[in-house]
């Protein structure tokens, strides 16, 4: 069957900068914004953009990711002629099987899957960004410009530019220079890690890169620079709107806090729904002595304490007299009575004992150090977890 464009979603990275939160699960299914997991954003964007074949490349701790995606039904991607397909590394006859050794290598190893659909274009996505984007719009521009590769870019403050892949473009948006994390950036257009390639071109570059010794087999480090060097047409597709990388504890916390300002990203918009797989839970209950302000609460929560400036995923319980401020409580975690949670991320099913104290408000505005309790971790009653401290759960393995 032929498809004009299919998507490949890179979801295999460990997300090691999220430490405790990804010690047991892959980054793309980290809970986000109450109702969501990070991967809901690219999956929903695909479904909303009319892209109905999505290959999800998994590698690191795929168990929960695989069961979360399932048949793709929550995103309307459970269709017979395509839909969502999990693509783990595999063994092939004769040759030894190998892990994905880079983003480009992951796609290279799945050339067979892509060829099944004989697509004209391939959209490459990653599982660690929060944004709403119409990929079909980008695809139209890709075609109109006759580009070989289109890269979504967003303007960033110049002082932040050294953290990104930076594009320099001519006045028509064609890229003449690409620098990965430049010390002295000469542009403020950062790559968002979203690429549309003309498949024939990309296929050739992937095969060539695979053969070249010493290549890191990475899109940003190898494929894009090689294409640029060979004079291929690279076009920068400007994106305006909300986009955040949530690859670190701080950025994950900040992006969750952004969800408290519904004007930054409109998740109520019925024309572009972000969908998720929801557990079966009753409505959330707010107790007699509870107080909730400037917060997000999800179904299945039971709040009896005070919650301010915080994001609560489903099935969280907050005991009487507990105070939660500027914190993220992931699904199923339990905050004991009288506990004090400030500037913290509490992982899935973690249990914070009564009267415990986790995290501290910053000294001044910039010194925010988030305390993190990993999934399934436990804090004994009355115990303290310092600002910036990271708590892993003991034992257990999936």
């Amino acid at each position: 069957m032929k498809k004009a464009c299919i998507a490949m979603l890179l979801a295999g990275g460990q997300g090691s900068r999220l430490y405790a939160l990804t010690s047991r699960t892959a980054k793309p299914i980290i809970p986000f914004g109450g109702k969501y997991r990070i991967i809901d954003f690219p999956l929903s964007n695909c479904a909303n953009s009319g892209i109905d074949v999505v290959g999800v490349l998994t590698q690191y701790r795929p168990l929960q990711l695989n069961s979360y995606i399932g048949s793709g039904q929550p995103w309307d991607l459970d269709i017979a002629s395509g839909g969502v397909c999990i693509l783990p590394p595999y063994q092939s006859s004769g040759a030894r099987g190998e892990w994905f050794s880079g983003t480009a290598n992951a796609i290279y190893q799945n050339i067979g899957f892509i060829d099944l659909w004989n697509p004209d274009y391939v959209l490459i996505l990653s599982g660690d960004h929060i944004y709403k984007m119409d990929y079909s719009d980008m695809l139209e521009k890709h075609k109109a410009n006759g580009a070989d590769c289109s890269i979504a870019v967003i303007r960033v403050p110049l002082e932040d530019a050294p953290r990104f892949g930076i594009m320099s473009t001519d006045d028509r948006g064609f890229v003449y220079k690409f620098s990965e994390k430049p010390k002295k950036p000469d542009s403020d257009l950062a790559s968002m890690g979203i690429y549309i390639f003309t498949w024939k071109k990309l296929r050739a570059y992937l095969i060539e890169d695979e053969r070249s010794p010493g290549s890191e087999k990475d899109f940003g480090k190898n494929i894009i620079p090689n294409m640029l060097q060979n004079g291929e047409k690279l076009w920068a597709c400007r994106f305006e709107g909300y986009w955040r990388d949530v690859g670190t504890i701080d950025s994950l916390w900040e992006a969750n806090m952004d969800m408290l300002s519904p004007t930054l990203i409109d998740l109520y918009d019925r024309s572009w729904p972000i969908r998720s797989r929801s557990p079966t839970k009753p409505p959330h209950y707010i107790g007699e002595n509870a107080a909730i302000r400037h917060s997000i609460i999800t179904e299945g929560c039971d709040v009896r304490g005070m919650v301010t400036n915080s994001v609560l995923s489903s099935g969280v319980s907050v005991g009487e007299g507990a105070v939660v401020d500027y914190s993220i409580l992931m699904p199923g975690c339990v905050i004991g009575a009288g506990a004090l949670i400030q500037y913290a991320i509490i992982g899935e099913n973690a249990v914070i004992g009564a009267g415990a104290a986790v995290g501290l408000p910053p000294n001044g505005k910039t010194d925010i150090r988030i305390a993190t309790c990993g999934p399934d971790s436990a804090v004994a009653p009355g115990e303290t977890v310092e600002a910036g401290e990271m708590l892993y759960s003991v034992g257990g393995d999936d």
């Binding site: 914004g33 109450g34 109702k35 039904q73 929550p74 408290l260 519904p262 998740l267 109520y268 729904p273 972000i274 969908r275 998720s276 929801s278 079966t280 839970k281 009753p282 409505p283 959330h284 209950y285 707010i286 107790g287 007699e288 002595n289 509870a290 107080a291 909730i292 302000r293 400037h294 917060s295 997000i296 609460i297 999800t298 179904e299 994001v311 609560l312 995923s313």
Partner: protein, 371 residues
């Protein structure tokens, strides 16, 4: 594979529910912030591993069809069997008109019932809010050896047929009493039965031959008169009967109590409902909220006390809601003050509006109204 087949009555619209059943049956009445009443019957069946479920409907079933879809949300969208929607089969010459009672309804779908392969059928009122363990009911049914077992509550309730039984030590009753004057130790049917398929077919045949339309006063009474016996299964959890607007209001408010809520919602037997992709609920800087149940997708900047809010409700700045049930996608404008109000879907209360009912006579506002 389950040996039970489910049949849910969803054709009835209680006339005392006012506007809420104008365009829907009682079974598709929204309840407890995110459910429809029929979710309880369907979930009980799914949780007991029942894979074949028929929903008996007659008219005003648009809302029900929209809610049920393929049955996917209750895991009843199956390659064989699964959910079957049963409007009246318009067989030429057969009785068509308002169903007088369950026997008329069952009779209207008899060709479906004839093809049931399971030995046992669960007859379930579609407008009950109850979390039943149907495995346990079947166990009780098999223990007594009766052909039919009634699920009963010890608390007398209004609004249902009022059929009561006085079970002996073995949990079997050979007579049925109605409503007011029942002796001590009597239990009242909640109108959920496990019945052998053979007896069900016999009762339908008898009712049709004798022109009888009701289950209790006709078919079951006949069965008991001719030597039959009814097994009794006692259900102890909260089981409201929702027949009037006040019943409806009270049953919703009861969900604010932990014990009643625990009776209807448990992790062991979850209640499934139609999915809807909504965001989590947002509480604004000046929001205030106590003793309330709130579904996803709401946007709350005002004050809530003792309220039930369905998905997608918007409470604007300064609005005060006390003792209200607000169905999905309604908007309460700035500084509006509502107390004891039940509002149907898509209702808009304009800025500054003041509306007060009382607990015995809550104000009901029909669908899509702008006040």
């Amino acid at each position: 594979m389950s040996d039970m087949h489910g049949l849910i009555y969803a054709y009835h619209a209680s006339p005392s529910l006012g506007g809420f059943t104008e365009s829907r049956t009682s079974a598709s009445l929204p309840f407890c912030a995110r459910y429809r009443l029929i979710d309880f019957a369907l979930s009980a069946m799914t949780n007991a591993g029942i894979r074949n479920v028929g929903v008996v409907m007659q008219h005003d079933y648009q809302s029900l069809l929209d809610h049920l879809g393929s049955g996917k949300d209750w895991e009843l969208s199956r390659l064989s069997g699964g959910l079957r929607l049963l409007p009246p089969f318009g067989i030429r010459g057969s009785h068509i008109g308002e169903y007088r009672g369950c026997m008329d309804a069952l009779s209207a779908v008899q060709t479906y019932i004839d093809r049931i392969l399971e030995d046992f059928v669960v007859l379930f009122r579609g407008d009950l809010a109850v979390n039943l363990d149907l495995h346990a009911v079947l166990d009780a049914h098999l223990r007594t050896g009766c052909e039919i077992t009634a699920v009963c509550t010890e608390n007398p309730r209004r609004g249902t047929s009022g059929a009561c039984f006085v079970p002996d030590e073995a949990g079997v009753s050979r007579e049925m009493l109605f409503s007011d004057s029942v002796p001590k130790g009597a239990v009242q049917s909640i109108e959920v039965y496990v019945i052998t398929k053979a007896l069900l077919v016999r009762l339908i045949d008898w009712s049709r031959a004798n022109g009888r339309g009701h289950f209790h006063r006709d078919a079951l009474a006949h069965y008991l008169r001719t030597g039959g016996a009814v097994g009794v299964y006692r259900h102890r959890g909260y089981t409201p009967s929702i027949c009037t607007a006040a019943d409806y209001f009270n049953a919703n408010m009861a969900m604010l109590r932990r014990e009643s809520r625990g009776d209807l919602f448990s992790d062991a037997r979850p209640v499934y409902t139609k999915g809807r992709s909504s965001v989590s609920t947002y509480y604004g800087e000046n929001a205030s909220s106590q003793n309330s149940l709130v579904a996803d997708g709401c946007y709350i900047e005002g004050e809530l006390v003792n309220c039930i809010l369905f998905r997608g409700v918007r409470v604007e700045k300064g609005a005060k809601l006390h003792n209200c049930v607000v169905m999905q996608d309604s908007v309460i404008g700035e500084n509006a003050a509502l107390s004891y109000v039940i509002s149907d879907k898509y209702t808009v209360f304009s800025k500054g509006l003041v509306l007060s009912g009382n607990s015995r006579l809550p104000i009901t506002v029909p669908k899509c109204k702008i006040i």
